[in-house]
Symmetry: C2
């Protein structure tokens, strides 16, 4: 689920949204858009979570503003966004932001090796 | 759930994380941190979602980099972050980004008024 992004600077598109009730082809289109985005020039990764209440946050990462514009102008993506406005989302917000710094904690290693070391 | 942010530019802190199993005081501290953040100078809002698999995305919005630094240096928040590293998160990523543009779709109005207009 975690995006493996390069050293900043790069861009993030923060998409916060509330789903309407019912699927209405959302699931299939969403999967298709995720796959299609991956094939776009300048795509760096995506992180996406939806809570039980239908509120979701999807953050996609891009190498440049041009890459974001390119994806935005993709014909199939444009049609999907139109469906989003009409059917899938009760409300949404999009924020385009330039990532200036990043840090984190890598996955904890609870490896076989460390388990072994506690056993005589 | 949706943050009411001003016109850009402003800053976003994108925190993506994976919770460990068990609460370990996470719930109480998380609530306390949300309340405390709200009282910080330059705080603009927060949006937070966690999925059933324990993956979460929290985006907090701030007026300036100084506001982010101030919150980061808050003593109680520093202690909470230490607990986060030790106990609550299996992994996490923090990205600090400058929001350059924003747009969205306001909540759909399914008001009494519009219902009335369809009734004779």
């Amino acid at each position: 689920m975690f995006a493996q992004t390069p050293e900043p600077p790069y861009y993030a598109v923060i998409f916060t949204n509330q789903r309407t009730a019912g699927d209405n082809d959302y699931g299939d289109t969403s999967e298709r858009m995720m796959a299609l985005a991956k094939s776009q020039p300048g795509y760096l990764g995506v992180e996406s979570v939806r809570g039980a209440d239908g509120v979701g946050i999807t953050v996609s990462y891009w190498a440049s503003e041009d890459a974001i514009t390119g994806w935005r102008q993709h014909a199939e993506h444009s049609l999907a966004r139109e469906q989003g406005r009409k059917r899938w989302y009760g409300q949404f917000h999009v924020r385009v932001a330039k990532v200036e710094r990043a840090y984190g904690m890598a996955p904890r290693e609870i490896s076989d090796e460390s388990n072994k070391s506690e056993r005589p």
